[in-house]
């Protein structure tokens, strides 16, 4: 019974908190730039407004266009649910490991890209094509990073991963490299600077925004919420692997509360780091992506090699 | 075999080979025909001599065929053919005579080198005969290669065949020599008919390339 309650809690909490995280990042960024910035709850207001508004569909939009926001949101949500955020036991991590999460995020990307091409505008096409390009570049780095982690944990299931990482792995160059790779992949996948700019609406620099240009009303709300959730997902993922402290291993109330607190702290720290990073760096050209993500792949492979060596010496 | 018998057989064999070289040397068609006729006559004599000394009467038949057919009938026929078809009597040589002769000497040397060690257990006569015969048989094709003319190819073939018959005659107790010489004669006759009926004056490889292409069936546009 508690399991079920916990599961529901784990499902709902990230969705509820995702806009807050986005709001936090925006706020910090604004502050860093010397502006006052919007309220922390501004994303909630935006979403609510979008839900109220009348959705407008292009004449030739198909069922795929209408369905994609729901399914892609559900996909990200499912992936989120598989990550041990504050507790391991009831998570779906048993059925969906790290590779499956990567796969689910791929599905979400495909759905949104297809929706972008549905209306038949050139912006949709440009967005979809670039989004899939980024995905293609990010995936190898992600997978090799997973290999590095699996070398430590002997597992790809997140609860095991997080457990193994919390049990005296210590500081290692190899894991730092894997972390670097993972962070770079996360930046690319969540459409943050320097790969994409979530705030821009300047046509030729858009990737994600270009794809969802035709959406409005509740469809857009779901897409936006999905994007926010994805950011939460990546921060939680990195948190649960590289900062596996505080995650509850049992259903005890104290442990759970501590876990939740730790998670919130991790999210906040992650948001702060992201805002800092985005403030000091500039967006790069489209054809610089291969260099950025190639570096991620290189980091990940180096991580694997270092792990081989350290395990061999042990 | 007595010394004299051996000497005569040896002489005849050597004569056949010498005539082969004479053939290589010829530049005129009619002369070549005459030489090959002479070679056939010597061959007939050699066969007859073997028939006498070895008491193998069937070799007389071989000798007879060689004399009547190859030394008399075929050369007459060839002469008639040359006149009848207005084949020019000059023979276009591909290689110079010197080179041809040189090749002939080489071939002869090879024959001797090949045959003599092979037949170590045989009589001296047979060994020599065989070496000469092989040389003659190889000089025949050499002539065919070295001259551009249909009739000279018949002559070359006849010379080659003379060599073979010489060898067959020399081998003691070789059966079917008569049959072989008959078969060869038929072949030669067919050759000549070929030349005659098909009016093959020259080889098709005359320098006229356009004609060549027309003939090959392959290069038609």
């Amino acid at each position: 019974m508690t399991d079920l309650a916990l599961l529901i809690f784990q499902l709902l909490l990230p969705v509820a908190l995702a806009p807050l995280l986005t709001g936090l990042v925006r706020r910090i960024k604004a502050r860093l730039l010397g502006r006052r910035g919007p309220a922390l709850v501004q994303p909630y207001r935006d979403l609510a407004r979008l839900f109220r508004k009348e959705p407008v569909l292009a004449f030739n939009a198909s069922w795929l266009f209408r369905g994609a926001p729901y399914v892609s949101f559900a996909v990200v949500w499912l992936a989120m649910a598989a990550i041990p955020t504050f507790a391991t036991t009831p998570s779906l991590g048993l059925g969906l490991d790290l590779i499956a999460i990567a796969g689910l995020l791929g599905l979400a990307r495909i759905l949104v890209a297809l929706a972008g091409m549905d209306v038949g505008t050139s912006f949709g096409g440009i967005g979809a094509s670039r989004e899939m390009t980024i995905g293609a570049l990010a995936e190898p780095a992600m997978l090799v990073a997973i290999i590095a982690l699996a070398l430590v944990a002997k597992s790809t299931a997140l609860p095991d991963l997080s457990k193994a990482m919390s049990e005296g792995v210590g500081l290692r160059v190899s894991l730092a490299l894997a972390l670097g790779a993972m962070v770079m992949v996360a930046i690319a996948e969540t459409g943050r600077i320097p790969v994409d700019n979530p705030a821009t609406h300047l046509e030729l620099t858009m990737v994600h925004e270009a794809m969802v240009l035709e959406y409005s009303g509740r469809h857009l709300a779901l897409i936006e919420l999905g994007a926010m959730l994805k950011l939460t997902l990546y921060l939680s993922l990195i948190g649960c692997i590289f900062a596996p402290w505080g995650i509850a291993r049992d259903a005890g109330m104290t442990a759970l509360a501590a876990g939740a607190g730790a998670w919130l702290a991790k999210l906040a720290a992650g948001g702060l780091a992201l805002a800092l990073f985005e403030t000091v760096i500039a967006k790069m050209r489209v054809f610089r992506y291969p260099e950025f993500l190639g570096a991620a792949l290189l980091f990940a492979i180096l991580g694997v090699v270092f792990l081989y060596i350290s395990q061999h010496l042990k | 075999m007595s010394g004299l018998a051996f000497d005569i057989a040896h002489l005849l064999g050597a004569l056949v080979l010498t005539l082969s070289f004479a053939l290589l040397y010829q530049r005129r068609l009619t002369a070549a025909i005459n030489v090959v006729a002479m070679q056939a006559a010597v061959l007939a004599a050699a066969a007859a001599w073997q028939a006498v000394t070895r008491d193998t009467p069937h070799l007389f038949a071989t000798a007879g065929i060689a004399l009547v057919f190859k030394a008399i009938a075929v050369p007459l026929l060839l002469h008639w053919l040359v006149r009848r078809m207005n084949i020019s009597s000059g023979v276009e040589a591909v290689f110079g005579v010197t080179l041809t002769m040189g090749l002939g000497v080489g071939v002869t040397a090879l024959s001797i080198l090949l045959v003599l060690p092979l037949t170590a257990g045989e009589t001296i006569l047979l060994r020599e005969d065989l070496a000469f015969a092989l040389a003659v048989a190889l000089i025949g094709p050499l002539l065919m290669i070295a001259r551009r003319n249909a009739v000279i190819q018949v002559v070359g073939f006849m010379s080659m065949e003379n060599g073979l018959i010489l060898a067959a005659v020399g081998v003691k107790g070789m059966p079917l020599v008569v049959e072989a010489s008959v078969a060869f004669s038929v072949m030669v006759a067919t050759f000549i008919f070929g030349v005659f009926f098909y009016q093959i004056r020259e080889r098709f490889d005359s320098l006229d390339v356009s004609r060549l292409e027309e003939m090959q069936g392959e290069r038609q546009p």
């Binding site: 292009a58 209408r66 059925g95 969906l96 495909i110 949709g124 096409g125 979809a128 094509s129 | -």
Partner: protein, 683 residues
């Protein structure tokens, strides 16, 4: 089911195939026969499928039955053997066969010369059914070549077009190359004594050199048929040239039969496998996968695109197979079983979704008459049923959960993770590279199929043919729907097919020991259909059911909550397009523009891809032009030079036909003299 029944079924099926081929010859004059012949072909495939499933699903893993027929090579006869591995491939072949035949009912009614398809079609199926059953080299190669020969005729169906004839020529020549290579492999394994039965080869212990020689020949022979780079060049030519249901069979089934040969040969026949064969194979597989996916992404012809994607998937399967060999050679049986299971599962899945996609491309071709992506668009509105079915195929091949393509790629990745634990440092270092290549291939495939579906089915029609497309016949839809349903089912419950596949794989990697129980995780503790846990504990689990049902439930919640929160009905309006909507459909992204970023990033080095834009100076009224060119490196570096070499040699040698008799005589004379000299010298 007793084995008598299975062999009877197989015998009946093969005889029916031959009969159907004879019947197929008559369809030019009697087109009315087309439908019954296809229906009968589908039924025959069902019969063969039942026979194969009988072995595959038998609870005792080592069920192996044999037959010896009094035909074939004298003194050796024709040996047949049905075991788990053979049964797996028979299932793949016959599933594809059923779909293709059912599809054919609706597809082939209007061709001018139906006999060109209907006569070889059953023979093609017969050949593919014979190869996995063969248990001696001769029978194997007869089946193999029958398969090539029949599919060659099928490629020639559209023989009026020069491109198709060229494709057929390249195909058949490559097939002959492959067969010769296999022949040599079998020759090496059989030895000078002529032990051509596979049993004799299993018993013999060839020296390492011979085994390696045979393994290389096998790799060349089976690899060329499967489409491993750089021997893949025939595949993108031949597969698209055939009628679509045949393309589906060629891509979905025939390439798998080639992989069967590779698996059977390297794991069982070629003596004790050596670790580096596996490593080499895995690297080749990874490279093939990445190259295939990349090429697929740059094609503008729907069926060529699918053919390149086949090359990609063959690469994935080969990589897993290579890992299986490496594990087996290192004595890691459990991991070997897992890798082989992954290969088999991906082969099965690829058979399903690639057939589905080829049938879908065929439906598009059927209703629009074109394979050019740039003339399509908006078909989702016209082909109401085909579109979702093709979408399922696209998602499956893009390896995303909850579809079957993900389940098998997940297993392959698990094997790659295992490979990091291999003893040889070469293999250890290769593992992350192979993993990266496979991940790149999967992601490129996803990009490629987004492009394929997006250009063909989404957007606005780019041409009248697309605007006027019509939905295809029920039989064609039924074939696609069946395959799509299997893709979904195997995605949601991968454990169901994996259990028998794991048994079959277990038999191959460890025939002596606890056969079939090597690949555990099913049956004990957790129910097989709920999740797959290859290592038998909790370290790596994937539950297709959680993914599928979870996704369905969460989508339902999202829809439900949203519809409660927001009741305003949607309004239709012109597209927004940043305020400047352009009615001309030519302004949409085209197939080549959709592939441009990746073509530019990877294509430059790998495919010599060049985009050339000619922008006239200001004031010049000429239109700007864009040209995109690329060249398959295999043609450029390997086959073109070979063809040029043959051409030059023949040109030179041809003079030999036009010499004078004299010269021929001198050749003869010289040869005689030469031989005499040789004899004189060697004496």
């Amino acid at each position: 089911m007793s084995d008598v029944d299975q062999w009877t079924l197989i015998g009946v099926a093969q005889a029916t195939f031959v009969g159907l081929a004879v019947g197929g010859c008559m369809t030019n004059r009697r087109p009315v026969l087309i439908v019954p012949l296809y229906a009968l072909a589908a039924l025959t495939c069902v019969v063969a499928l039942v026979a194969a499933l009988g072995t595959l699903l038998a609870p005792d893993a080592d069920v192996v039955t044999r037959r010896v027929l009094p035909v074939g090579l004298p003194d050796i006869k024709s040996h047949l053997r049905l075991d788990g591995l053979a049964a797996v491939f028979l299932v793949i072949v016959n599933l594809g066969g059923i779909a293709a035949a059912v599809y054919g009912i609706g597809y082939d009614a209007h061709t001018t010369e139906p006999a060109r398809v209907l006569a070889p079609f059953p023979l093609f199926l017969a050949g593919m059914n014979l190869v996995p059953l063969a248990d001696d080299a001769f029978t194997f190669l007869v089946g193999w070549e029958l398969m090539s020969l029949a599919s060659w005729l099928l490629v020639l169906t559209g023989h009026e077009q020069a491109d198709n004839r060229r494709a057929a020529l390249v195909y058949l020549t490559m097939a002959a190359f492959g067969a010769l290579a296999l022949l040599m492999a079998f020759g090496a394994l059989a030895g000078a004594g002529g032990g051509y039965t596979f049993d004799a080869m299993r018993r013999s212990t060839p020296s390492a050199a011979i085994a390696t020689l045979a393994a290389f020949a096998l790799l060349l022979g089976a690899g060329s048929k499967a489409g491993l780079a750089p021997l893949h060049v025939w595949l993108p030519l031949a597969h698209p040239a055939a009628p679509s249901h045949v393309s589906a069979l060629m891509s979905g089934a025939m390439t798998k039969v080639a992989l069967y040969a590779l698996a059977r040969g390297l794991l069982e026949l070629a003596g004790t496998p050596q670790w580096w064969w596996g490593g080499l194979l895995a690297v080749i597989g990874g490279l093939t996968a990445a190259l295939g996916a990349l090429q697929s992404l740059t094609q503008n012809d729907s069926k060529t695109l699918l053919a390149y994607s086949t090359i990609e998937n063959i690469g994935v399967i080969t990589a897993a197979l290579g890992l299986a060999i490496a594990f087996k050679a290192s004595g890691q049986r459990l991991e070997a079983g897992l890798a082989l299971t992954a290969a088999l599962f991906h082969a099965l899945n690829h058979g399903l979704f690639k057939s589905l996609l080829f049938l879908g491309a065929g439906a598009v071709l059927h209703s629009t008459g074109t394979r050019e992506l740039d003339r399509l668009g908006g078909l989702i509105h016209r082909l109401r049923w085909t579109a979702p079915l093709v979408l399922i195929g696209c998602l499956a091949i893009s390896a995303v959960p909850p579809l079957n393509g993900f389940a098998s790629e997940w297993l392959v990745f698990q094997s790659v993770l295992d490979a990091t634990g291999l003893g040889h440092w070469e293999l250890k270092f290769a593992a992350p590279v192979i993993g990266a290549l496979l991940a790149l291939a999967a992601a490129l495939a996803a990009a490629g199929f987004v492009r394929f579906f997006g250009i063909a089915f989404l957007g606005r029609p780019r041409d009248a043919v697309a605007a006027n497309a019509h939905e295809v016949t029920p039989a064609m839809l039924a074939a696609m729907a069946g395959l799509a349903a299997l893709c979904l089912a195997f995605g949601a419950w991968p454990g169901v097919p994996l259990e028998p596949l794991g048994r079959a794989a277990g038999m191959m990697v460890d025939p002596s020991g606890a056969a079939g129980r090597l690949f555990v995780g099913q049956g004990d503790g957790r129910t097989a259909w709920l999740a797959i846990a290859p290592h038998g504990d909790l370290t790596a689990v994937y539950s297709g059911m959680v993914a599928a049902l979870g996704l369905a439930a969460l989508t339902g919640i999202a829809v439900g909550v949203t519809s409660m929160a927001s009741r305003t009905p949607a309004r239709r309006a012109p597209a927004w397009d940043c305020g400047f909507p352009e009615p001309n459909p030519a302004t949409q992204y085209t197939a080549s523009s959709a592939g441009q970023p990746l073509r530019r990033i990877f294509g430059g080095p790998a495919l010599a891809a060049r985009d050339r834009v000619e922008m006239p100076p200001a004031g010049d009224l000429r239109p700007a032009t864009f040209a995109s060119a690329m060249r398959d490196p295999a043609w450029h570096y390997l086959f073109d030079p070979l063809i040029a070499l043959v051409s030059r040699t023949t040109e030179r040698l041809n003079a030999l036909q036009f010499l004078a008799i004299r010269v021929y005589l001198s050749l003869m004379f010289a040869a005689l003299i030469g031989l005499l000299v040789v004899v004189a010298v060697t004496r």
